[in-house]
């Protein structure tokens, strides 16, 4: 493990981190070990965000660094490593709503906490969720929405998953804007969360990670 790389990423020194990765590759370091370092750094970033010492911009920069490092490593890897992951989470902002900041934070935090996350983006129609459940086979679905209008499309999305006969194989959580148990009941979801850590905790409890 390269403590230097972990710290460079975790402390947001982008140029230094990328330079280190390139040097390590040229020095025949194991690309897998570099990826592990990057993961560890992401973990630190996630913790600092939870504690309130890092903010939204640091999460975004961390995500960008991880993407760039993966791009540098890709040619060196026969295939992208099967990092041991807890399970799969499908996520998206439901139809009629385009708010994505909360969803993006949840995606990041699930990712650094060891979940495979497929993010369908914003304004996602129920049918697209259904198709993605069939293809991606997630254990957990996260429906996001900030507008009150989104509560109805969350309900429609849950119903569409039910109608496709897929409801029993997934757990569904809802989040965004104002959430409480009344809203959860309206949507037919299994649980709701108020922040990104709540989403991580729900996913861990359900998947048994």
């Amino acid at each position: 493990m390269s403590k230097k790389l972990v710290n460079a990423i975790a402390d947001m020194r982008e140029e230094e981190a990328l330079k280190l990765v390139k040097e390590m590759i040229e020095g025949d370091s194991d690309p897998m070990a570099i990826l592990d370092d990057a993961r560890e750094a992401m973990d630190i970033v996630g913790k600092r965000y939870e504690e309130g010492s890092y903010f939204l911009p640091e999460l975004i920069l961390a995500g960008e660094m991880l993407n760039q490092i993966t791009d540098i490593l890709k040619p060196k890897l026969a295939k992208l490593p099967e990092v041991k992951r807890h399970g799969k989470v499908l996520i998206g902002t439901v139809e009629g709503d385009i708010h994505d900041i909360g969803k993006n934070i949840v995606t990041f935090m699930l990712d650094v906490n060891g979940f495979d996350v497929l993010d369908l983006g914003v304004d996602v129609p129920p049918q697209k969720f259904v198709e993605a459940v069939e293809d991606f086979q997630p254990q957990v679905i996260g429906l996001s929405g900030f507008l009150t209008l989104a509560f109805d499309t969350m309900k429609e999305t849950v119903e569409a998953i039910q109608a496709a006969g897929l409801r029993d194989q997934v757990k569904i959580m809802v989040g965004g804007g104002q959430m409480d148990d009344q809203v959860r009941a309206h949507t037919g979801a299994d649980a709701y969360g108020r922040d990104a850590m709540a989403a991580v905790k729900l996913a861990k409890d359900w998947i048994g990670a």
């Binding site: 903010f55 939204l56 911009p57 975004i60 385009i98 900041i101 993006n104 914003v122 304004d123 900030f146 507008l147 009150t148 209008l149 509560f151 109805d152 804007g177 104002q178 409480d180």
Partner: protein
């Protein structure tokens, strides 16, 4: 500058509860406090789903009007809800909002023309907020074509260039300011408004960002903003910035605000 009081908004949890429980006192207090703090308009957003929205909006309108004389800014994308609320208002309201979305223009513009309202125009399409200033200006061209075709005078249109958080794009502030300046050049008599505090979402010490942004936006020509008028520090910044921009005859707004205690405990000399 006109302050549009932002607090009566059903997407805020406490307000949603007041609407659901028909807690009139809570809503009336919000209306009164914002009016006393100098709001020129009170935004009223039920935030409920379309079936419920007309009833909720009328209930809000009636209670806000019972507590304050301030004209309302009816905040909904739903033409049906706006049409019924329009029948319940005492004073000609502002409508919040239209956008480049054709259904919204078709549904809402007739109301604006019929009642001679002012209207907020968002620089976005149906589902997308353009990333660049040029693309936002292009949307506004489309909207202005529609408002002019509907005989809405330019000075009744409040363009919102859209404030996105700097936390996800460090250029958000500049994109806003560039859009404002470009639209102002093309339509010298339109007005501008903005939901100010979005700028600092996800960042620490937000009040400093909000104040810096308000000052710069005023300098670029912002005429109004949707904000919390009970935030004294923000209002103090507003008074000072308008003073510096030469928009305060004989400094009277500033000195009156001082005498009314706006700067008490805030001024460090």
């Amino acid at each position: 500058m006109e302050i549009i009081g932002e607090k009566i908004n059903g997407t805020r949890k406490r307000v949603a509860r007041a609407i659901a429980e028909r807690d009139a006192d809570f809503i009336r207090d919000l209306a009164r406090n914002q009016a006393e703090a100098g709001a020129a308009w009170l935004d009223v957003n039920a935030g409920t789903h379309p079936k419920q929205e007309p009833d909720d909006l009328i209930w809000l309108v009636e209670n806000v009007q019972a507590a304050a004389d301030t004209p309302l800014c009816l905040d909904s994308a739903n033409p049906q809800a706006l049409a019924v609320a329009m029948e319940a208002v005492d004073k000609t309201p502002m409508i919040n909002s239209i956008s480049g979305e054709p259904e919204r223009l078709e549904g809402i513009l007739p109301l604006v023309t019929e009642h001679g309202c002012r209207v907020i125009a968002l620089a976005m399409d149906a589902t997308k907020i353009p990333e660049t200033s040029a693309a936002r200006v292009a949307v506004i061209h489309k909207v202005m074509e529609a408002t002019r075709a509907a005989d809405v005078p330019d000075e009744c249109v409040y363009v919102d260039p859209l404030v996105m958080t700097i936390g996800t794009n460090v250029q958000s502030g500049r994109i806003f300011l560039d859009t404002l300046r470009a639209v102002r050049e093309a339509y010298p008599t339109v007005r501008f408004t903005a939901g100010l505090s979005n700028i600092s979402f996800g960042l620490p010490a937000r009040s400093f960002i909000n104040r810096a942004f308000l000052t710069l936006a005023l300098g670029a020509g912002l005429d109004s903003a949707i904000l919390d008028p009970t935030d004294r520090e923000l209002r103090a910044t507003l008074r000072a910035a308008e003073l510096v921009l030469g928009r305060d005859n004989h400094c009277l707004n500033y000195t009156r605000a001082y005498r009314a205690g706006l700067f008490d405990e805030l001024d460090k000399g």
